[in-house]
Amino acid sequence: MKKISDFTVVGKQSWRRAACLRLKCDDKLPEIRGGQFVHVRVDGGQQTYLRRPISIHDVDYQNNTIDLLIQEKHEGTKILCGLPVGSKVNLVYPLGNGFTMPENDDEILLVGGGIGIAPLLYFAKTIKENRNKKVSFLLGGRSSDDLILLERFREVGEVLITTNDGSLGECGFVTQHSLWNMKKINKIYACGPMPMMKAVAKVAREKDIWCEVSLENQMACGIGACLCCVENTTEGNVCVCKEGPVFNINRLLW
């Protein structure tokens, strides 16, 4: 069931152009799947009007909190990143389909680029609840500055890193990491900039690996009513907010 609720910012960690907000709600949280998102109302912007879809980075059902990892891009995300502890935010959530849970014996890899690492943490936690196999993350950034909250990922699984400038992990793109030649993987979950996801999808197709990607098409309603955020798929135009944001690459035309 989707809800509309007021949350309070109860914790915050900030970086140069990103922030992680911990939002607490008085109501009990509904069940949330990894890869789902919230639609956040942005108040007080000169140019903003619509809500902003933001991936759910982490969930704590005991304390009724949701963590959002947000990158500053334009005015809306700048306002959200600037919210001080104590501010109120209104969320419509949880929205979208979320990632497909892997089978017990699947060898999975969670690939994140830039702020696209956000939904992978909570998804990995939900995977770990269902099986005791190790989870591996492959996270990429332009430089070490882009790779934030690594300690949180390390608590959940193995973390492999690439940076374009070689300042952390292996030098290059995620698709150039040495693990691709060493490890046997049969399921990939990816979220990040479009060129990265396209490159990951290409590798997955070449190696015949099952692969899901999370898209971030611009949205208005967030619930499948306005048909603005469509992705052209094998079944025609479908709403990323409702039928996605997670798609198997076999449904996509790229």
Partner: protein, 303 residues
């Protein structure tokens, strides 16, 4: 107890609040947020005779206090609506109204006649004002002769309440409304979106795939209010007002300008529960102003 019932010809609304086509899906998308029984009606997504894929992405651009869209009437066609969607939504405890669009008169007539046969659909809203499709109806909606032709043809084929949705992209909307009335419309709804445009200065390219799109949201309210006022003075049939309504106060303003009912559009995206809140807020306004019947507010502007 405030009376909120509004009677349009052959169409009774339990209150003046409806939701606007294209912003409320088929109602199902909103049932987690709104009890549809609290609304006077819902106008479901624009339906055409044949399946339409709509326009390519990107279809949306945010603007100050508003948005542009060029969705382009994406829908699976009237037969799919009748077979698959209608059975799911026909028993909603509110008026379910279908917005009908087309690219030629025959398409409008055939689609309208098919919906005429649906027992639980008490009205259609004829979309002669979609700005996002070549021959998407706006060609009919911007001239008096065009609107007369299409409304007359549909009037002959459709026997229940016929709402005609008007385009604001005209020189004199009152003349267009009079033409719709003369051709047999039971009511007119206005405004559809205002044709607009957005450019990305960094890339020097248009933001929308179709270059232009329809502007909606709070920013269009003053234009919509003015047009509702002009049309309400010009025609005898009821006027349904829409355009940027985001609060009960906005809704009251439209009633005072002469609207008998209102539709909530883009505001549904900001607050998916807003439509029911506005219905409640109208009652609270009436209580505060000792108004016993919402009908007393219609055209109650003091000038």
């Amino acid at each position: 107890m405030v009376n909120t019932e509004i009677k349009l010809k052959g169409l009774t609304l339990k209150n003046p609040v409806m939701t606007a086509s294209g912003t409320f899906g088929y109602g199902e998308e909103y049932t987690d947020f709104v009890d549809l029984a609290d609304l006077g009606g819902i106008v479901v997504k624009g339906t055409t005779l044949n399946h339409r894929e709509g326009n390519p992405y990107p279809r949306m651009a945010e603007t100050p206090k508003g948005m542009l869209n060029c969705v382009g009437l994406q829908n699976k066609g009237v037969d799919y609506f009748i077979e698959t969607i209608y059975p799911r939504i026909k028993d909603f405890d509110t008026n379910v109204i279908v917005n009908v669009s087309g690219s030629n008169i025959d398409d409008y007539v055939v689609a309208a006649a098919k919906i005429d046969a649906l027992e639980k659909i008490p009205a259609i809203e004829l979309n002669v004002s979609c700005p996002n499709v070549k021959q998407g109806g706006m060609a009919f909606g911007v001239t008096c002769s065009g609107i007369e032709q299409v409304v007359k043809a549909v009037r002959d084929a459709y026997h229940k309440h016929l709402i005609v949705k008007l385009s604001p992209n005209v020189t004199n909307i009152a003349e267009i409304a009079k033409a719709a009335e003369a051709a047999g419309a039971d009511s007119v709804s206005l405004i559809n979106t205002i044709l607009g445009m957005a450019i990305d200065a960094e890339t020097r390219r248009p933001v929308l795939s179709m270059v232009t799109g329809g502007l909606s949201g709070a920013c269009v309210k003053p234009v919509a209010l003015r047009m509702v006022w002009q049309v309400a003075k010009a025609v005898k049939i009821p006027v349904i007002g829409l355009g940027g309504i985001s609060s009960a106060t906005d809704a009251i303003e439209f009633l005072l300008a002469g609207a008998s009912a209102i539709e909530i559009g883009t505001a549904n995206f900001i607050d998916p529960a807003i439509s029911a809140k506005i219905a409640k807020g109208i009652v609270e306004y009436c209580e505060r102003h000792q108004v016993n019947d919402v009908n007393e507010l219609i055209g109650g502007l003091i000038v």
